[in-house]
């Protein structure tokens, strides 16, 4: 927790970055020691990506860099020069949500919603490479994201439902998912 005065002294030297953010070219100027998480939240005003633990354990800061899920709290802003970054804000629009965003919302897979952006992007990466994941594959992919509210079950169900939608299948929410067993 002990930091020296070096950080405040270098305020005059900013880094200047160009990269593709949510399918658009952006340019941003920021203090060079910042993590990608901080640059997104503080310099680009995209607060959808969350912090939770400061050390890469909770997964709330997950974004996609060149289509791979990364912990943005452990990536320097400088590291995404000329690369492609996707945050929760770019996953869908209010007019057209990503199927995962729809199923998360409809099934109650987002309770407090704070971990949801991280889960959604991690799940998106999975479905981008495998539209028919098993329950075990889903669990393993999402094992780097912690949720304290849901117990994960509705999250698995939402991922499976979104995958079915994306495969073009007619989907129906199983009764016991929302009413319990008889």
């Amino acid at each position: 927790m002990l930091l020296t005065g070096i950080m405040s002294e270098s305020k005059k030297q900013k880094a200047h970055l160009q990269f593709t953010l949510n399918d658009e070219e952006v340019e941003v100027v920021f203090a060079p020691h910042k993590t990608l998480l901080e640059v997104l939240r503080e310099d680009l005003s995209l607060t959808g990506t969350k912090h939770g633990c400061e050390l890469g354990e909770c997964g709330a800061c997950t974004v996609l860099v060149d289509n791979r899920a990364v912990l943005s709290c452990l990536v320097l802003g400088l590291d995404v020069e000329d690369r492609k970054v996707l945050t929760i804000e770019g996953m869908g629009t209010t007019a057209q949500l990503h199927p995962l965003q729809e199923t998360f919302a409809d099934l109650g897979a987002a309770q407090c919603g704070y971990c949801s952006p991280g889960f959604l992007l991690a799940a998106k990466e999975l479905l981008d490479r495998n539209l028919n994941p098993s329950r075990d594959e889903i669990k393993e992919t999402l094992s780097g994201n912690i949720c304290r509210c849901t117990g994960y079950i509705k999250i698995y169900e939402a991922v499976e439902l979104a995958a079915a939608k994306m495969r073009g299948e007619a989907v129906e929410i199983a009764r016991e998912m929302v009413y319990g067993l008889e």
């Binding site: 020296t4 959808g48 117990g151 009413y179």
Partner: protein, 814 residues
């Protein structure tokens, strides 16, 4: 099991009982929801708290001059700028936002810095010089009981005892004399914490009219409002507290906090907005989590398992401040009687101060620990008597619509149906005591309140208020002070009002948790919100419907009783074509009555208990849960894997079954975390440093540890709940820990009388058993405490009136 698809007028429910999407679900899934740290204001400053690195010390001097000289530091305050103490409970106003003469735990704040950015504030922390004079530190319950000086606080029940309680209901001697079998057991439940993924965050803005607004991730904006008014010297009418959507709370965001007061003061001093967000490490120090509790229980039973008497003692490690601790102490002794019939009951409890982060309310608030003890002891009793533990419990349930020995009034009681469901589903009878070594199955039951019967501060006002505004173009706005912490309380309001008015939930705007705009709701704690705000919104909506019905009945020339409200219309029940739109109905009503606005409120019924201490425990209703855990214990490592949990929850009536399922699954998850791995432990007697103040080291279950859950919802409507609804936010957590530990016994024949039942403890017990010793891991005993004369109350069965029995004066003996 669904048996109430109809409202009380017999008409089918259209919204209540259906799995609608939450009103805020989509915003959360697109990253649009603004949590406290997402908010920025122009010229905002960033604050950090400097915290003590010693566990117990006098503050001799604080020199902030070097820090103030750092470019970018705008203001620094210390304790003398905030001399008025505060605290959540009126009886323990023992906190200062910044310590004045002493620090009481590592993490206790001593200074607050406001700077142009967080990095500068961090740098300034290093430049503040604090001179401490260390005092002897106290780190355990035993030590606190033995050590009268130095006192961590100068109030309480003597020495380092914060509170001592001694209550006796009924003739205990007679009760134990009647027993065929008596067991005494000792248990220990370690402390753990809420670990919400969102760290606490607050933003204060002292505006040009010298009025203060505080946005904060809090579960209790009304209580924060009261604390700020007390401490800041501003009139309460000039303070506005807005609870931002909580990224998880679980009771960890229910106190008024140091950081909230500090940013408010810094904003007043600087005239600029000031924001603070705690680091995860700071959240561990903020804590207010599960009290570590040492417990002794003596229970007498007949040979069929009926309880004749129960004597329960609890010892709570409160940490450095009071928080909700006095209530927590009572809660460790209140709900033992609401699940099974306990005709005679004695409770002694004490809470001590130690130099550790303060404990407070975590999901279940003081009841998971004694529930664990009770359910494990019952398992041992069943084993002693040769009875099936599920059957034994089922035979002796507390009756519905009865009053317990300690004067808690029970309403609906669906626990029997819960037990039946899961016993059948888990194939209990073919598995209990029949699975191969290493595999086991265990059962436990529990109960929880649906809202505390009394408010935190004494008053005669409603616990929940709802205001409705009806727009002449058909929209409806609900105002309520309740706080959505992820459980969906905002949506519950919309579902209920939509049901009563016959419109769609998404036609409704919900405005909540703003002390300027919304009527008081006491907050999201004690599982009160669905029941209390639900009842208040039913009242407000019915009053609105009455106004509309009167206006429409005149227009359509129909009696009011013939009008139905559904599908955004108001129409003749006998001739549905004959009707008008909801919006037109509002126009008619507004034309007739003027601007349409209604109010609803809710106050819980008074409890029959009239003795000192009767305030904790009563509730308008109690929920019930039963859980069976199937586990796999590796005898080489002691590692327990929970394969599956079957859980039955007596919900009364689901307002939204999908949200109910989410709470059940989330409760099971949190129970797994507590029983398998979560612990707040401290290093070294003198240093009392937290061992695991990070998410890397404090273990919580990931997807790989979460078990399969089979959920059964029992709907037996309670007359005191809105549409019969009871709680689900806390109940389902409670049976999980004892069910797992009972399953461990079934699997490998050892008793771990502690939570967490971590691998080292299971292994130690297995090895002891292999050596011919008792296959047991747990505390050896409890400290000796002078409990004094108990407060005695005759039970209802003995003809009691709920009041304390008069104490016989000594001289009357002659």
């Amino acid at each position: 099991m669904k048996n109430s698809n109809n409202g009380k007028d017999g008409k089918p429910l259209k919204v209540v009982g259906k799995p609608y999407r939450k009103v805020d679900a989509r915003a959360k899934c697109i990253g649009q929801t603004l949590f406290a740290d997402d908010i920025t204001l122009p010229r905002m400053l960033f604050a950090k708290l400097l915290r003590s690195h010693v566990p117990h010390a006098l503050i001799k001097n604080i020199d902030v001059s070097k820090a103030l000289a750092l470019p970018g530091v705008i203001a620094i305050i210390t304790g003398k700028e905030l001399p008025i103490p505060y605290g959540i409970l009126p009886v323990s106003q023992d906190e200062h936002a910044l310590c004045i003469d002493k620090v009481r735990f590592i993490g206790d704040p001593v200074a607050a810095i406001a700077a142009v950015d967080e990095d500068t504030a961090f740098d300034a922390m290093d430049l503040i010089e604090v001179e401490y004079e260390p005092l002897k530190s106290i780190s355990t319950i035993e030590e606190a009981i033995k050590t009268d000086e130095p006192r961590i606080h100068t109030y309480g029940d003597g020495g380092n005892t914060h509170k001592k309680v001694s209550l006796e209901f009924g003739d205990m001697e007679a009760g134990f004399a009647e027993a065929d079998h008596i067991r005494e057991d000792v248990f220990f439940y370690e402390g753990n914490t809420h670990l919400p993924i969102e760290q606490h965050s607050a933003l204060a803005h002292f505006d040009a009219d010298n009025k203060l607004t505080l946005w904060s991730s809090t579960q209790t904006p009304h209580y924060v409002h009261r604390a700020l008014a007390k401490v800041l010297g501003l009139p309460a009418a000039h303070i506005r507290v807005i609870a931002t959507p909580n990224g998880g709370g679980f009771g960890g965001k229910s106190d008024p906090f140091n950081h909230e007061v500090a940013v408010a003061k810094l904003s007043i001093i600087t005239g600029r907005p000031v924001k603070i967000t705690l680091t995860r490490e700071e959240v561990f120090y903020c804590h207010r989590g599960r009290h570590p509790v040492l417990m002794w229980a003596k229970t007498g039973v007949k040979k069929d398992g009926a309880i004749t008497a129960m004597h329960f003692r609890t010892f709570l490690d409160g940490g450095a401040y009071g928080s909700y601790g006095v209530a927590s102490t009572f809660y460790t002794g209140a709900l033992q009687t609401v699940t099974y019939d306990v005709p005679r009951y004695k409770f002694e409890g004490t809470r001590v101060f130690t130099n550790k982060p303060p404990c407070g309310p975590k999901r279940g608030h003081g009841t998971p620990q004694p529930r664990f003890a009770l359910e494990v002891q019952l398992d041992k009793i069943a084993d002693d008597l040769g009875l099936d533990p599920a059957e034994m419990r089922k035979q002796h349930l507390a009756p519905a619509n009865s009053v317990t020995a300690n004067y808690l009034r029970l309403g609906s009681m669906g626990l029997g149906a819960c037990i039946d469901k899961i016993v059948a589903a888990a194939d209990w009878k073919n598995k209990y005591k029949k699975l191969p070594y290493g595999k086991g199955i265990g059962i436990a039951c529990s109960s929880y309140i649906c809202g505390a019967g009394l408010p935190i501060y004494w008053n005669n006002m409603p616990h929940s208020g709802v205001q409705l505004r009806l727009d002449r173009q058909g929209g409806v706005c609900i105002f309520c002070g309740s706080t959505d912490i992820g459980q969906g309380s905002d949506s519950i309001l919309a579902y209920i009002v939509a049901e009563v008015l016959g419109i769609e939930p998404f036609d409704i705007r919900v405005v909540t948790a703003d002390t300027d705009l919304t009527p008081v709701d006491l907050g999201s704690y004690s599982s009160r919100v669905t029941l209390m705000t639900g009842n208040a919104s039913v009242q407000a909506a019915e009053r609105a419907r009455e106004l509309l019905a009167k206006a429409v009945s005149e227009k359509l020339d129909l009696p009011v009783e013939d009008l139905a409200f559904a599908d955004r219309r108001v129409f003749d029940v006998k001739n549905p074509e004959n009707g008008i739109s909801f919006a037109e109905a509002v126009v008619l009503a507004e034309s007739k009555f003027g601007t349409i606005g209604t109010v609803g409120s809710y106050t819980p019924p008074r409890s029959p208990g009239k003795f000192k201490g009767a305030g904790v425990g009563p509730s308008p209703a109690y929920s019930y849960s039963a859980a069976i855990a199937e586990v796999d214990v590796d005898p080489e490592t002691g590692i327990t894997t929970v394969d599956r949990i079957w859980i039955g929850h007596d919900i009364g009536q689901s307002i939204n079954p999908a949200l109910v399922m989410g709470q059940v699954e989330g409760g099971v998850y949190m129970g797994l975390g507590e029983v398998l791995m979560e612990e707040m432990v401290y290093r070294g007697n003198r240093n009392v440093v937290h061992k695991f103040p990070s998410m890397l080291e404090y273990k919580s279950p990931t997807t790989m540890e979460m078990c399969d859950v089979k959920t059964y919802l029992i709907e037996d409507p309670d007359p005191n709940g809105p549409f019969g609804a009871k709680e689900v936010g806390q109940g389902p957590l409670l049976p999980v820990m004892p069910a797992v530990v009972n399953a461990i016994y079934d699997a490998v024949g050892v008793r771990v009388d502690e939570v967490p039942a971590s691998p080292d403890k299971v292994l130690a017990a297995i090895r002891a058993k292999a050596k011919g010793q008792e296959g047991h891991f747990g505390p050896k005993g409890v400290p000796d405490v002078d409990w004094g004369e108990p407060l005695k109350v005759l039970t209802p069965a003995e003809g009691g009136d709920g009041k304390e029995m008069p104490r016989i004066a000594v001289h009357a003996k002659e």
